[in-house]
């Protein structure tokens, strides 16, 4: 049974959507803290570029492509939900999850190789940031995929379709973080 408070909308924005935006505000500063620390350090340590050269740029680029494409299916899911087609929305969300899974698979492959080559999280300043920042992001990809599965399970039955948009907003944020991480960790020399 919903409380009256939940059904009100004095600002004209749906309650769930408003909450997602505030979640993003707090997330932006979390990633902001990591990224600004990394950038400041990187500027002070030009020699980290040598370490960064050991990352697999093309795998990273492939992952960027996968993650950005998965956002497309998230948008299409939202469109389907707007039209009231819950089944289609759910299927598109599953497709998005597949993107997330691919992303995490490629990432584990990269990390396994790097660890084998001796570039562990203890191997120096660059690797500390590399694993922490990308790991924090991967954790968000994973959590987002779980939430998407949960949203899809109710969207399939045409219930709570407004959640499709909310999880989509979150998914775009996860994308945007990666758009910052990819060049900073892989490309910057």
């Amino acid at each position: 049974m919903k409380t009256i408070a939940t059904t009100r909308s004095a600002m004209g924005i749906a309650t769930g959507k408003l909450a997602v935006w505030w979640v993003l505000v707090s997330e932006i500063v979390i990633f902001g803290g990591v990224l600004v620390s990394y950038i400041m350090h990187r500027l002070g340590h030009p020699e980290w570029a040598e370490q960064a050269a050991h990352t697999h740029m093309w795998l990273g680029a492939f992952n960027t492509f996968v993650l950005l494409t998965s956002s497309l299916s998230a948008v299409l899911a939202h469109q389907a939900a707007e039209q009231g087609n819950g089944r289609k929305a759910a299927n598109l969300l599953y497709l998005t999850c597949l993107g997330a899974l691919t992303f995490l698979g490629v990432k584990s492959f990269e990390w396994t190789n790097e660890i084998k080559e001796g570039f562990t999280i203890q191997a120096g300043g660059f690797w500390s940031y590399y694993y922490t920042a990308a790991g924090l992001h991967a954790f968000h990809v994973f959590a987002g995929a779980l939430v998407m599965l949960w949203v899809a399970s109710s969207a399939k039955k045409n219930e709570n379709l407004h959640r499709v948009e909310n999880v989509g907003i979150y998914w775009h944020f996860v994308d945007i973080v990666w758009i910052f991480l990819f060049p900073l960790l892989y490309i910057a020399k």
């Binding site: 049974m1 409380t3 707090s26 500063v29 600004v36 203890q122 500390s128 694993y131 922490t132």
Partner: protein
């Protein structure tokens, strides 16, 4: 109109359900697993009060050690240097993260926001319950950390690396990590709570309540939540990094391997300074509510107060490096941060002037809540003014890490976390429990707290100005700090603390006794305007049988031409 009927239908459902629940739901579900914002508020408040007792006990132990070094402390025994560090560290952490935050922000926020904006609950009641549960877990982790091998963390509540990052330095292999985990969990709890506060007051206001009809205390709690949300991120990131430094061997803060210990100070204080305003603003809001009611006067310049709250919030993001004037930051930065730090006193001073202008010409009643509110103004002023000394980088180099700093921030935090909270507790007690507190014992508690408080910290100002460094376990080892007059001041401060702690007993007795035996209070005992006073005392689950509407601002007191000197927000014109 259609929406209205819809709402009424909901209301009827809620009221029936509440009635229904009352018989079926057991104690556990009602008081431990509840989604009711009022129960969650009490959970936060009582947990906070319990931890306040623990924090106060810690203060008692280390103050005894400082006044009578080496002698066994009654109830604790002889204090070792490691224990001393653990006690001061956890005293600070508990009082800020597990007392001031849960009581002021989560306790009052949960209790007041739905009632003051005229909603039946928070927008996400289950998220709200989860928030408290995570908070409870964080408190358990912290308290457990005090009893693990080698004891709790002793690297001060600011946890500067390298001391905090390496167990070879801090000697607390488990305590340090558990402290970090507890703090991180606590942040998660408050992020969940904060989202609830912000969205509820943005979206769930009663029909007719515009943004500028919202009481000041709701504004302050919401802006404080936004400040928290926007500032805590870097510290969450920093906590992860520090935890990795401790456990995985990363090198974020390790200067031997290319890391930078000062980075932690930036991440910590980027949060740490807005945090001061996160707890200050709710206390300011409580004081505003109490003052208007007991001066029977409209709040002077309502909108100005809101703009100053916002200005304080924005400026608070640009002052953090004043904690690092001696940490080796660029002197040009020190100039900038001196200016921003001194600037932030302008909106705060403006708020104080507005409150004084509210009192001017009012018919003031010196009830217990009003006494606390007035004391807040007087004591916080001392904290604020001494802050200007410390904000000036030139003076700070001398004062840094002396007892002057300790006295300064206790003159801000004590008015916030004790005096402001007491103003709120005594003011809303009749609403919370449907009964009055005893006025006489309330006044005894008031004077017995405020006078010894000054007795504790004025000596510390003097000692600090004479150069006494903080974080010293036994001053007998430092001849320059071991003169008789210095020892006398230390003993005076400790005795004042003992007196203050003794005077908390009448409060606790009065509080518990009044909860069950106090004279019954009506709906609106203080003749206030805001919506919470139109609900029953105490309000049932769902708050109102019929949801209120809002017709005017919250501070229409002594309006000319009206018979009554107050004009409730829900009364039709």
């Amino acid at each position: 109109m259609a929406e209205h009927t819809h709402e009424r239908a909901h209301v009827a459902g809620t009221a029936n359900d509440a009635h229904h629940d009352h018989h079926e739901v057991g104690w556990f579900k009602k008081y431990f697993w509840s989604t009711d914002h009022k129960v969650i508020a009490f959970q936060y408040m009582f947990t906070g009060m319990f931890l306040a007792l623990i924090g106060a006990f810690m203060a008692y132990v280390f103050r005894m050690q400082l006044a009578f070094p080496g002698q066994p402390v009654p109830g604790f025994g002889v204090v070792s240097p490691g224990q001393y560090n653990m006690l001061i560290t956890n005293h600070g952490s508990i009082m800020i993260f597990w007392v001031a935050m849960p009581v002021l922000l989560a306790g009052f926020g949960n209790y007041l926001i739905p009632l003051m904006v005229g909603a039946d609950d928070m927008v996400f009641p289950r998220l709200n319950r989860l928030s408290y549960q995570i908070f409870f877990l964080s408190a358990i982790v912290l308290l457990t950390s005090l009893f693990v091998q080698n004891g709790g963390f002793g690297g001060a509540w600011t946890a500067y690396p390298p001391l905090s990052a390496n167990k070879l330095y801090n000697l607390t292999p488990y305590g340090a990590s558990m402290w970090l985990i507890a703090v991180a969990l606590e942040f998660v709890a408050f992020l969940l709570g904060g989202i609830n506060f912000i969205v509820t007051s943005m979206n769930s206001r009663a029909p007719g309540m515009k943004a500028f009809d919202v009481p000041i205390v709701v504004w302050t709690i919401v802006i404080a939540s936004i400040l928290f949300m926007a500032s805590v991120g870097p510290l969450i990131a920093g906590a992860i990094m520090l935890l990795f430094d401790q456990t995985l061997g990363t090198s974020f803060f390790n200067p031997n391997r290319g890391g930078d210990p000062v980075l932690w100070q930036h991440l910590f204080w980027f949060f740490g300074h807005p945090e001061v305003y996160v707890v200050l603003l709710p206390a300011m809001g409580i004081v505003a509510e109490v003052m208007t009611v007991f001066a029977r006067k409209k709040l002077f310049a309502y909108k100005t107060v809101i703009y100053t709250i916002i200005a304080t919030g924005v400026l608070s993001f640009f002052v953090w490096a004043h904690h690092q004037f001696v940490a080796g930051i660029d002197p040009r930065m020190a100039n900038v941060f001196t200016v921003t730090t001194v600037l932030i006193s302008i909106p705060i001073a403006e708020m104080c002037f507005v409150y004084i202008a509210t009192l001017y010409g009012g018919s003031i009643r010196f009830s217990v809540p009003m006494l606390w509110a007035l004391a807040f103004m007087a004591e916080f002023l001392i904290g604020g003014v001494t802050g200007i000394y410390l904000g000036a980088s030139g003076l700070d180099i001398y004062f840094h890490d002396t007892y002057f700093v300790v006295a300064h921030f206790h003159y801000t935090f004590f008015p916030i976390a004790v005096i402001g909270v007491m103003a709120g507790v005594t003011f809303w007690f009749p609403k919370m429990f449907g009964r009055y507190m005893n006025e006489f014992w309330g006044k005894v508690h008031f004077w017995g707290t405020v006078i010894p408080f000054n007795g504790i910290f004025i000596p510390l100002f003097i000692l600090g100005a004479a150069g006494e460094h903080r974080r010293i376990f036994d001053y007998k080892n430092f001849p320059q700090f071991n003169h008789p007059w210095q020892n006398d001041l230390r003993i005076f401060a400790t005795v004042s603390l003992l007196v203050m702690l003794l005077f908390q007993i009448p409060f606790l007795v009065n509080f518990v006794w009044s909860m069950f035996r106090g004279p019954k209070a009506p709906k609106n005992p203080w003749k206030s305007n805001t919506l919470e006073w139109t609900a029953d005392s105490p309000p049932p689950h769902g708050n109102w049988a019929e949801m209120p509407e809002c017709h005017r601002g919250p501070y229409e007191y002594s309006v000319p031409g009206r018979e009554q000197d107050f004009w409730p927000q829900n009364e039709k014109a």
